[in-house]
C-alpha cells in the first residue's frame, strides 16, 4: 500500500522539479533582462563610481551572459540545499538571501495562517447553509455579498479597514459607549439573519428571529453598559456558559442530540474545564506559546477521555465530539485570560490607548508579560486577517455551495433518505463528506497562492513578509532576492498540487494514487 504512494510522490516531485526549473529559468531571464543593478551607481556622483561599478559587476557576474548566471545561481541553490553557502546576497544591504527568507517566511506564515483557517471555516459553513437554503433570501444575500467581496480590490479594503477598523475604532475606545441606534441596528441584522437561516414554517422562523434579536440587543447593551470594551472578561461563569453552549452546538452538529452520551461527554468536558479554571490562572503566570499549545492539546485528550468514559457503543463519536468541545472550551479560557490583560495593554505607554495596530507585526519595544505581548500580536493580526478573510472567504463559499448542490442531487442522498436517516446525518455524513472531496483539493493550492500573494496586505499593514521582500527586491533590482522569493513560492505551489492529489486519494476510496 505504501509503495505506490511513494512512487507517486517521487514521480510528481520529479515532474514538479522540471516545471520549477523551467519557471525559474524564465523568471531569471526576464528579471535579468529587466533590472539594472547598476542604475543607482550610474546616476550617482561619487568619485570612485567606476570602481564601485566594477566591484558590483564582479560581485554579481554582470559581465556573464544571463544564461550562464542562471546556471551559476542554480549551482548555488544546490550547494545551499547541500548545506553550503547561501544562494546570493542582496547588493544594497549585503544581506544573504537565505537570511532574508528566514525573516520573511515566518512573518508571512504568521500573517496568513489565522486568516486561512478562519476563511475556510466561515466560507465552508456559509456555503453549506446557502446550499441547503438554495434560492432563499439568505442565499441571495450571501450571493450578493460574495460577489461584492470578489470585486473588492485588496488595497482598497485594506485602506478602509485601517481607517475604520483601527483609527476610528481606537477613537471610539476612548469613550466606548454604543449608541442606542447602533444597538438596534446590529440586533436587527442578527435577528433578520437568524430568521433567514432558520428552516421551517414562517411562525417558527419569526420566533427564532425575535429571540436572536433580543439576545443580540442584550449582549450589545451589556457591552456598552459594563464598559466591556475597556475591561473585558468572561469570568468563570461566562466561560462555563459559553462552553456549555458550544458543547450543545457541537454535539448537535457532530453526533446529533439524540446521542445523549455524546452530549453528556461534551458537557463533562466543559465541567472539567470550569473546575480547572482557577488552577489554570496560576499556571498562566508562566505561560509561553509551547506551554499553551500543550495545554490545548491536553484539553482534546481530556475530551477523548470523557467520551470514552461515558462509553456506549458510539464512544468514538462521543470522544470526537468531546475533544472538539475541549478545544473550544480551552480557547474560551485562553480568551478570558487575554481579556484580563487587555486594560494593562490598552494603558501601556507604547500603545497609548490605541490598541488596534496598523503597522507591522508587533509593537516594537513593548516588553511586559507574555499576556501583554500575546495581546499585542493578536491586535496586530486583526486587520490584515480581516482583509485576507474578506477576500478569500467568498471563493470558499461559492465553491462549497456548488459542490454541496451537486452532491445533494446525487442518488446516494436519496438512498440515505430512503433508509430513514435524519436530515443531519444525510447532510453531514453523506452529503458534506462527499462535497469535501473537491473542496479539500482546492484548499492546499489556495493556501500556496495566498502565501505568495498576500503582497498588498503585507504592504499596507507594513508586515515584512514574503510579499514585501519581493516587491522591494524587484524595485531595487535585487535579482537573487527575487529568485529566492520565487523559488520558495513556486516550490510551495508545486508541493501544494501534490498534496492536493494525495488528499484527494485519501478522501476518495475510488482514487488510487498510482493510477
Amino acid at each position: 500500500m505504501l509503495a505506490p504512494v511513494f512512487s507517486f510522490i517521487a514521480r510528481r516531485v520529479a515532474v514538479g522539479s522540471v516545471v520549477l526549473l523551467g519557471a525559474t529559468f524564465i523568471v531569471f531571464m526576464m528579471v535579468a533582462w529587466a533590472v539594472d543593478p547598476l542604475a543607482d551607481l550610474r546616476t550617482s556622483n561619487v568619485p570612485n563610481k567606476q570602481f564601485l561599478i566594477e566591484q558590483r559587476t564582479e560581485a554579481l557576474d554582470l559581465d556573464m551572459a544571463p544564461v550562464l548566471r542562471y546556471f551559476k545561481w542554480l549551482g548555488n541553490v544546490v550547494a545551499y540545499l547541500w548545506g553550503q553557502g547561501t544562494f546570493g546576497v542582496a547588493v544594497t544591504n549585503g544581506q544573504p538571501v537565505a537570511d532574508q527568507l528566514a525573516v520573511a517566511v515566518p512573518t508571512t506564515l504568521k500573517l496568513v495562517s489565522a486568516s486561512v483557517v478562519l476563511a475556510i471555516l466561515l466560507g465552508v459553513t456559509v456555503g453549506i447553509v446557502t446550499a441547503l437554503r438554495q434560492y432563499s433570501s439568505f442565499d441571495y444575500l450571501t450571493t450578493f455579498f460574495t460577489f461584492l467581496f470578489y470585486s473588492l480590490p485588496a488595497f482598497w479594503v485594506a485602506v478602509l479597514l485601517k481607517q475604520f477598523g483601527a483609527i476610528r475604532f481606537n477613537d471610539f475606545l476612548a469613550d466606548p459607549r454604543v449608541p442606542i441606534w447602533a444597538v438596534a441596528l446590529v440586533a436587527l441584522a442578527v435577528g433578520g439573519l437568524a430568521a433567514m437561516v432558520a428552516a421551517g414554517r414562517p411562525r417558527g422562523r419569526l420566533i427564532i428571529g425575535l429571540v436572536a434579536f433580543a439576545g443580540a440587543a442584550a449582549v450589545m447593551g451589556y457591552i456598552s453598559a459594563s464598559n466591556f470594551l475597556l475591561e473585558p472578561g468572561l469570568g468563570i461563569v461566562g466561560v462555563t456558559l459559553t462552553g456549555a453552549g458550544a458543547a450543545v452546538a457541537l454535539a448537535a452538529l457532530t453526533a446529533g442530540l439524540s446521542n445523549r452520551r455524546a452530549l453528556w461527554a461534551s458537557l463533562s468536558t466543559v465541567a472539567v474545564g470550569a473546575a480547572l479554571y482557577f488552577p489554570l490562572q496560576y499556571a498562566f503566570v508562566h505561560a509561553s506559546w509551547p506551554v499553551l499549545l500543550g495545554l490545548w492539546a491536553t484539553s482534546a485528550v481530556v475530551g477523548v477521555a470523557a467520551g470514552l468514559a461515558w462509553g456506549g457503543d458510539d464512544r468514538f463519536v462521543s470522544a470526537r465530539t468531546a475533544a472538539l468541545t475541549g478545544l473550544v472550551m480551552s480557547v474560551f479560557v485562553f480568551a478570558d485570560r487575554l481579556m484580563k490583560a487587555w486594560p494593562s495593554y490598552v494603558g501601556h505607554p507604547r500603545v497609548n490607548g490605541r490598541p488596534i495596530g496598523t503597522l507591522g507585526a508587533v509593537t516594537p519595544e513593548l516588553g511586559g508579560t507574555f499576556w501583554l505581548s500575546a495581546t499585542d500580536v493578536l491586535t496586530h493580526l486583526v486587520l490584515p486577517t480581516t482583509a485576507l478573510v474578506l477576500i478569500s472567504f467568498a471563493s470558499y463559499t461559492r465553491y462549497t455551495r456548488a459542490s454541496m448542490l451537486e452532491v445533494m442531487n446525487a442518488d446516494y442522498i436519496r438512498t440515505a433518505r430512503a433508509k430513514g436517516l435524519g436530515e443531519r446525518t444525510v447532510v453531514v455524513r453523506h452529503a458534506f463528506r462527499n462535497a469535501l472531496i473537491p473542496l479539500a483539493t482546492v484548499i492546499p493550492i489556495d493556501i500556496a497562492l495566498i502565501f505568495g500573494g498576500a503582497i498588498i496586505t503585507e504592504r499596507i499593514f507594513s508586515w515584512r513578509g514574503m510579499g514585501t521582500m519581493f516587491i522591494e527586491a524587484l524595485r531595487q533590482g535585487e535579482i537573487y532576492s527575487v529568485m529566492g522569493y520565487f523559488l520558495v513560492t513556486a516550490a510551495l505551489a508545486i508541493s501544494a498540487n501534490i498534496v492536493a492529489d494525495l488528499i484527494y486519494a485519501g478522501l476518495d476510496p475510488r482514487i488510487r494514487v498510482n493510477a
Binding site: 436519496r414 430513514g420 472531496i437 493510477a515
Partner: protein
C-alpha cells in the same frame, strides 16, 4: 400451468399491507403544476409482488417515491397511502423518517450511484440498522453480515468491508438488497432493480428476489419497464401510462387476456425470443397467436413488406438477393482474421486488450448480430470496423480496404462504404447543429452534393426514415429519443454504405419506440440491401433482424452460426446460459425456463 402459482397465497389476505387510493403527484415547473401521477390506486399484500409497468414518463417511479415522501421539493402529493392502516400522506417528516428504511425499504436502479462511494457497504448497512434501533454496533455488524449471506454475496466476511466501487454490478445490487431487507420491512419498493445489469446477472438477482420473497413475507412493489422481468416476478400487475393505471390485474390475466389497448401494444412491442422448448425441431415459420400466449409480437408481421423480417430460420436481414446464409455470395464487405484490438495505454494506465483473435465475415447485404454482455468487446469491434480504433494485430478488411495500418487518405475513402448508428440518441447528434446539417454532413464532406442538391438529398434521407423534411431546421434537443435515432439512421445511410454498424441502436429507447425503430430499420435494410453488423445485448432484438449471430464474451468470439442454430442449438455453454437468462414476457413459459435455468445453475 399452475406450477408457478404455488409461491402465492391462494387467497389474498383480507388486510393488505399497503393500500394506495386516489394518489396524485404533481410537479411544479416554471409556474405551472404538471401531473405525474393521477388517481393511482392499488393494494399490496404480504408476500406478494405487485409490478408497476410503464414506459418513461408514465409516472411509475414518481408514484412509488411519493409513497414515502421521497420526491423533490417541487412535488406535491395528494390522496391516500395507508401502510397497515396508517396514513402516510401528510405525515410529519420526522414520523415518516421512522417508517422509511424500517417498514418501507427501497432498492434503486443503479447501485453504483445509489450507494455512497466513500463508505463501505458494511458501514452503510449498519448505519441503516442503527438509524432505527439501539442495536450495539457489533451486533449490527453481525446482522449486516447475516444479510449479506442471505443475499448470496460471495465471501461476505471480506466483502462487508469493501467500498461499492470494489464490487461488481451484481454484487452491488445484492448489497443494496441486503441493506433494504436488514430491518425486515413490510414493504419493499424495487425501482428497476435489474435494468442496469447484464442479463445473466439480472437472472441471478431476480432469482434472489424470488427466493427472498418466499422467506421474508414482505410485500414487494416492482417498478419496471421490462415485461420479461414482470413475467418472471409479478403476482399482480398495474400498467401505467401517462400517470394513470390503465389496467390492473393478476399477472396471467394481463399477459394472456389484456384488455386495454395500451397493454396489448406494450406486449406486442416486446421483441420475443423465439425458442422452442428445449429440444424441439426447428420451428415452423409464423407463430400463430393462440390465446394462451401473449398477444403475439406484432413487429413480426409488419403489414407492408411480406417477407417477415424475423422469419425464424431465415433471418431477418436477408436482402432479396443474398438472403440467409449467403455470406459467401460475394466478396465479403467485412472480414476479420485474428483481429486484436487494444485501447492504447494512457499515462500510467497500461494498454487494455478489449478484443482478441476475432474472426468474422459479413457478406454483402447480410445482417449479422453481435451479442454479448457489457465489457465483452462487442462495441469495440464496431468502432474498429469504422476506423475509430486502430487495429492492433490481425487483419480487418472493410469495404475492400485493409484497416490494419491504413493511411488517413485511404481510411477516408474506406469510410465512404461504411457508417455507424450509435447507441445514445442524445449524444450522437451535435446539439449545436440543426439536424439537417448533421444528416447532410457526410455528403458535404465527401463532396457528393452541395447547395440545392444537398438539401434535396437531406429531405430524401429524412423521408426515408419517416421524418418530415421540415424537421431539418430543428435541433436535436427538440426531438424525442426515437426521432433522434431515426436521424442517426438517416445520417448513416447518407453515403449509401455497403456496411452499416448498428451499435445498440435501440437499447436507450422505450419498447414501443424500439419496435417502430426496429421495423423501420429492417425495412430500410431490405430496401437498400446494405450489410449490417447489429450489435446488441438483447438477443431478442438481434433475432428479429439478423440471419447470423455471433456471440462474444470477454473479448473473444464464443460462437457464430445462423440465428436458428444459436438460439435453438447453441453449442457453447456460455451461449446457453445467455439464452436461458433472458426472461420472456410470458409467465408460464418463463416459469418453465426459470426452472430449467435454476436446475442448470444448481445441479
Amino acid at each position: 400451468m399452475t406450477a408457478q402459482s404455488n409461491d402465492r397465497p391462494a387467497q389474498p389476505r383480507p388486510e393488505p399491507i399497503l393500500r394506495v387510493s386516489g394518489l396524485n403527484v404533481d410537479f411544479y415547473v416554471e409556474g405551472e403544476w404538471f401531473p405525474a401521477a393521477i388517481d393511482v390506486g392499488y393494494e399490496v399484500h404480504a408476500g406478494e409482488v405487485v409490478a408497476i409497468v410503464g414506459e418513461s414518463g408514465s409516472g411509475k417511479t414518481q408514484s412509488a417515491m411519493a409513497l414515502v415522501g421521497l420526491l423533490p421539493p417541487n412535488a406535491r402529493v395528494s390522496g391516500s397511502v395507508k401502510l397497515d392502516g396508517r396514513e402516510l400522506v401528510g405525515m410529519r417528516a420526522s414520523e415518516l423518517q421512522t417508517i422509511r428504511g424500517a417498514q418501507v425499504a427501497m432498492v434503486f436502479q443503479e447501485p453504483m450511484t445509489a450507494l455512497n462511494p466513500v463508505y463501505t457497504i458494511g458501514f452503510q448497512i449498519v448505519e441503516t440498522i442503527r438509524a432505527h434501533s439501539r442495536m450495539a454496533s457489533k451486533r449490527a455488524r453481525a446482522r449486516a453480515l447475516e444479510l449479506l449471506r442471505l443475499v448470496d454475496m460471495p465471501d461476505p466476511a471480506t466483502r462487508i468491508d469493501y467500498y461499492p466501487h470494489q464490487l461488481s454490478g451484481g454484487q452491488r445490487q445484492r448489497a443494496m438488497i441486503a441493506q433494504a431487507l436488514v430491518l425486515d420491512p413490510k414493504l419493499l419498493i424495487a425501482d428497476e432493480p435489474t435494468t442496469a445489469l447484464d442479463v445473466t446477472v439480472q437472472a441471478e438477482i431476480l432469482g434472489l428476489m424470488r427466493d427472498l420473497r418466499r422467506r421474508i413475507d414482505s410485500g414487494i412493489i416492482l417498478i419496471t419497464h421490462d415485461m420479461g422481468v414482470v413475467a418472471d416476478m409479478a403476482d399482480r400487475i398495474c400498467v401505467m401510462k401517462d400517470g394513470r393505471i390503465v389496467e390492473a390485474g393478476a399477472s396471467r390475466q394481463i399477459f394472456y387476456q389484456p384488455r386495454h389497448p395500451y397493454t396489448k401494444l406494450l406486449l406486442a412491442a416486446v421483441p420475443k425470443l423465439d425458442l422452442e422448448p428445449a429440444d424441439a425441431a426447428p420451428r415452423l415459420p409464423s407463430p400463430p397467436a393462440d390465446a394462451a400466449r401473449p398477444a403475439s409480437a406484432a413487429i413480426r408481421q409488419p403489414p407492408a413488406p411480406p417477407p417477415a423480417p424475423a422469419e425464424p430460420g431465415l433471418g431477418a436481414g436477408g436482402a432479396a438477393s443474398g438472403k440467409g446464409l449467403s455470406a459467401e455470395a460475394g466478396e465479403p464487405v467485412m472480414a476479420s482474421e485474428g483481429l486484436t484490438l487494444e485501447y492504447p495505454r494512457r499515462g500510467r494506465t497500461g494498454a487494455f486488450r478489449a478484443v482478441e483473435d476475432f474472426d468474422l465475415r459479413i457478406g454483402p447485404g447480410e445482417v449479422v448480430g453481435l451479442v454479448g454482455e457489457s465489457g465483452s468487446g462487442k462495441s469495440t469491434v464496431g468502432r474498429a470496423v469504422v476506423g475509430l480504433l486502430p487495429v492492433h494485430a490481425g487483419s480487418l478488411k472493410v469495404a475492400g480496404y485493409q484497416l490494419n495500418g491504413i493511411r488517413p487518405a485511404d481510411l477516408r475513402r474506406a469510410r465512404e462504404g461504411v457508417s455507424i448508428v450509435f447507441q445514445d440518441p442524445g449524444s450522437s447528434l451535435n446539439p449545436r447543429l440543426p439536424i439537417g446539417q448533421s444528416v447532410g454532413e457526410p455528403l458535404a464532406l465527401h463532396r457528393l452534393a452541395r447547395g440545392k442538391e444537398l438539401d434535396a438529398r437531406v429531405a430524401e434521407l429524412l423521408e426515408q426514415v419517416r421524418l418530415p423534411a421540415s424537421l431539418r431546421n430543428r435541433y436535436p434537443h427538440e426531438l424525442s429519443g426515437g426521432q433522434r435515432q431515426r436521424v442517426g439512421i438517416a445520417r448513416a445511410l447518407a453515403l449509401k454504405p455497403k456496411l452499416l454498424i448498428a451499435d445498440e441502436p435501440t437499447s436507450a429507447l422505450d419498447v414501443s419506440v424500439q419496435a417502430t425503430v426496429l421495423e423501420l430499420f429492417s425495412e430500410l435494410q431490405q430496401e437498400h440491401h446494405f450489410a449490417c453488423l447489429f450489435i446488441s445485448h438483447d438477443l431478442a432484438v438481434v433475432e428479429l433482424l439478423a440471419s447470423r449471430i455471433a456471440v462474444m464474451s470477454k473479448g473473444r468470439l464464443v460462437e457464430t452460426g445462423t440465428a436458428a442454430e444459436i438460439l435453438r442449438h447453441p453449442r457453447e455453454a456460455y451461449t446457453r446460459e445467455l439464452i436461458a437468462a433472458v426472461p420472456v414476457p410470458d409467465p408460464d413459459l418463463q416459469a418453465r425456463r426459470r426452472l430449467a435455468f435454476e436446475r442448470r445453475a444448481r445441479p
